[in-house]
Amino acid sequence: QDNRISIWSVGDLGNVGLNGEYQGDPQLLCDIRHNGDVMDMQFLDQERIVVASSTGTVTVFRHHQNNQTLSANQRWEKAHYHVDQDTSCGGAACTGVICNNPEIVTVGEDGRINLFRADQKDAVRTIDNADSSTLHAVTFLRTTEILTVNSIGQLKIWDLRQQRNEPSQIFSLTGDRVPLHCVDRHPNQQHIVATGGQDGMLSIWDIRQGTMPVSLLNAHEAEMWEVHFHPSNPDHLFTCSEDGSLWHWDTSTDVSEKPSFLHQGGRSTTYFSHNTINQSVVSAWLSNDPTKDRMEITNLIPNQTLSVNSLDILGPCLVYGTDAEAIYVNRQLFA
């Protein structure tokens, strides 16, 4: 197998065509061989990328922008492994990685959580057997707390300051313990968490209250691989799935659509202040009645065939990759 990490450049701003679409395909700048499947990756900082491998190794690559090359900067071999090397059937894949420079947290099929620090050779902390099932994804809740999801439908909060190897809180789905594959936290409201499951269901959790999700939204027809809140426009959420679709969830409400009685009082009311609008939009994610605060859901892929495995968004730009070995870039997301 010849797996590679590649860096692409996507057109320059001057190259806009008739409909504002970008002419020209993404250009490959540089690439480097990678051992094993790439299960997850994230930028640590402007130059470094952390990559999780199916062999259980976590590697930090550095992108040298002056001569456009990639090099392996640091590597933690066997970050994830099964205990008995003789009977273990291959390595344990590292399934998720999250960074908060200089800290790196990884989780894997071995149910292990690792806390690394860039440039430190050994792991800062390892929680062995943190979970009896596979940990599918991890994200930061606060700088010292992380969220993990596993294959028996549990969302767990871990406090890394504490020395005990137990989660500080466990949330689970109602009903069947459908495996959860992805998790993301609202960028501004830290108590709002979204997870995606094997049955394609999107769950929104309020971790301040209760141990069950606030809302369950029937979304995809197959595994939801990734869920992301838009980092600067968090009333927008994106999910992608094995069924080949990528959905854009839009809860941004139009101020003028609010019923007229709210207009009373003019300036003295606080209804239209920015903070309140933010709050009322936030509650859109937590509200149980999707008809009250209108949510628009759009499938961004017209002719879906194979699975969309991964996506990312920044500003007006959306990138996603499919099993048809294609990468798609949409630079005019909100046009």
Partner: protein, 615 residues
């Protein structure tokens, strides 16, 4: 897989054969992956496209599909060409270059099939399409054209007349006239000659694509024009310039004159189209075969024999579709081309559904072969699945066999395979794959993962196995591992009795820990009396009852105590004498202690229950 057969000797009673089996290398060529992926998308689109569209719109749709396939081939050719230029390794360079020429041949054949079969161009437009085809594909002369056009004084260039001839041979009248005008301005003495020739070229009637004229009209016009050319030639108008005279002869369709320019045409099919342009522009599709055969014979002239490509193109001109497919299958190393072309032709309803002797029709056979080839690749197998889906007879069987053999090195890959199986109700495969994954997980001591796989497959037997493992761990270590799993089983607890027991047993421990003794007691008893607990575990349960019996406060009621005693007796009675003999002291002591505790409890509770309240 491709197999080569070498025979020894001529038909002896047992002629031994040597088979050389070679793995299909093409799927591993990096640049071809784009071809496979993109064509997969086009294939799926075609299968899903509406069949209800009839007539012209359906044909237009199919022609578009054909063009899409061709543009994918061309894109691949581009990439391959770039790769050939950039590589420093001579072996790779030659490999890439070979691939480029193979892809180019494929596009040539496909294009011709599109014109003749998919679009089924009628007399008139047929010629125009063939002209386009030739211009697009016979481009050995492009360099020469470019050289002359970009030179300072084109008309003085030594290859000038060659380029004019090329334009005329390919029917590119405007370009030819443009070049000639340069010559005319440089040579004022022969202005009249140029004017005449220019005029003739301008007036040449060509078939039109639209409905502006009927074939008969065109034929009439063409006849007049032809006669006019003839007159000019016979009058000796062009006698002073051999170049222009030969051009005029070409315009008249003179075979020898055209054949003289053999090197400029390079191929017999170019010769064919040029001849048709200047002698039978309204050629009908069915007439092509005669001209094609004649032209090929003339062009090759007995010096060289036809190559595979020539045979394939000839078969196409003869409208022998099956022959085309057969020849391509032999000539090409990979099933890609024939599989997709046959599928398209099948959608055009052009292939008779004559069955091959082993039951499926040709389209299905080729698709099955192609898709099977994909399955030997570690990631292109996903494309193969969709191809199998569209083979009605054997697709499912092939898929069932192939999908179980995909190596599952990560859980994510297993999940993808499972999803494919579930979507197609392949329950056997789902069970088998989940069992494999669960077994792997169990061996790696990932009990939660193992349980998760059993739940997916609804495999009660395996869930029982996992629960037994938990219980065994508990008996050995005295505490539960993986509490996060057992405490949160939820409805999946009902998958197997043993699992339910595990969940309830853990609940008992929890209740005990929270000091909710009477509830714990009730639960414990229920576990035994409702036969949820396996017999092997009864001893442990009864031992767990001991601390409850020894509590200061009476917990078990009389009824419950009787039940417990009955359980104990059932348990000991079940043992044969021999077993009782083998029981060590610990066992017998346990039983003794239990009997004692139960008796004491009974005594206390009878007194308590017998006591009147309030007194």
């Amino acid at each position: 897989l491709t197999a080569y057969v070498a025979g020894t000797g001529e038909g002896g009673p047992s002629s031994s054969r040597l088979f050389v089996v070679r793995k299909d290398q093409d799927i591993y060529i990096q640049t071809l992956r784009k071809l496979f992926n993109e064509s997969h998308g086009i294939f799926i689109g075609l299968q899903r496209s509406e069949e209800e569209l009839a007539g012209k719109s359906r044909k237009a749709q199919l022609v578009q599909v054909s063009k899409n396939y061709r543009s994918v081939i061309r894109a691949c050719m581009e990439d391959m060409h770039q790769a050939a230029i950039l590589t420093r390794d001579p072996a790779l360079h030659s490999q890439y270059s070979t691939q480029v020429s193979i892809l180019s041949a494929m596009e040539l054949i496909w294009n011709l099939c599109e014109i003749l079969f998919v679009e089924a161009a009628a007399a008139g437009p047929l010629l125009l399409r063939l002209l386009d085809w030739v211009r697009l594909h016979v481009c050995d002369v492009d360099n020469m054209v470019h050289e002359v056009l970009s030179s300072e004084n084109p008309s003085k260039h030594e290859l000038f007349w060659n380029v004019v001839d090329v334009f005329v041979l390919q029917g590119r009248m405007d370009e030819a006239r443009h070049l000639l005008s340069k010559e005319a301005s440089a040579n004022p003495t022969s202005v009249n000659m140029y004017k005449t020739l220019d005029d003739l070229m301008k007036k040449m009637p060509v078939p039109s694509l639209g409905n502006t004229q009927t074939l008969t009209e065109m034929e009439l016009k063409w006849q007049h024009w032809h006669e006019e050319c003839q007159r000019y030639l016979q009058d000796g108008t062009f006698a002073s310039s051999s170049h222009m005279e030969s051009i005029c002869k070409i315009l008249l369709g003179d075979e020898d004159a055209i054949l003289e320019k053999k090197d400029l045409m390079t191929t017999w099919y170019h010769f064919l189209v040029t001849r048709l342009l200047y002698s039978h522009p309204t050629v009908k599709p069915m007439e092509l075969r005669f001209y094609a055969q004649a032209c090929m014979d003339l062009f090759l002239g007995g010096e060289s024999s036809p190559e595979p490509l020539d045979t394939i193109l000839m078969a196409a001109f003869e409208f022998e579709m099956h022959q085309v497919i057969k020849e391509c299958s032999i000539a090409l190393s990979n099933w890609w081309f024939v599989a997709h072309l046959t599928d398209l032709l099948d959608h055009c309803k052009l292939l008779q559904s004559h069955n091959l002797y082993f039951g499926s029709n040709m389209r299905e056979f080729l698709l099955l072969e192609y898709a099977s080839g994909l399955f030997s690749h570690h990631s292109l197998w996903q494309l193969g699945v969709d191809y199998f889906d569209h083979c009605p007879e054997y697709g499912r069987v092939y898929l069932e066999l192939h999908i179980e053999r995909i190596p599952l090195n990560t859980e994510q890959k297993a999940l993808k395979v499972l999803r494919i199986c579930e979507q197609r109700q392949m329950h056997e495969q789902v069970r088998s794959i989940c069992k494999i994954m669960a077994m792997k997980a169990l061996r790696n001591n990932r009990l939660g993962s193992a349980l998760s796989w059993s739940i997916r497959a609804k495999d009660a037997a395996f869930a029982t196995l996992i629960s037994d493992r938990f219980l065994k761990d508990y008996c050995e270590s005295g505490c539960f591992s993986d509490l996060d799993l057992i405490d949160n089983l939820g409805p999946s607890m009902l998958l197997s009795d043993r699992l339910t027991f595990l969940g309830k047993y853990r609940e008992f421990h929890r209740l005990y820990g929270e000091k909710r003794f009477s509830e714990a007691a009730k639960l414990l008893l229920m576990l035994m009396t409702a036969h949820i607990a396996p017999c092997s575990f009864w001893m442990t349960l009864l031992t767990d009852a001991l601390p409850l019996l020894e509590q200061k406060e009476v917990i078990f009621s009389a009824e419950q105590t009787y039940e417990l005693m009955r359980c104990l007796e059932d348990l000991t009675a079940g043992k044969s004498d021999k077993q009782k003999f083998q029981d060590d002291d610990v066992e017998t002591m346990k039983v003794e202690m239990l009997r004692l505790a139960l008796a004491r409890n009974l005594a206390r509770v009878i007194v308590k229950e017998g006591t009147l309240e309030g007194s």
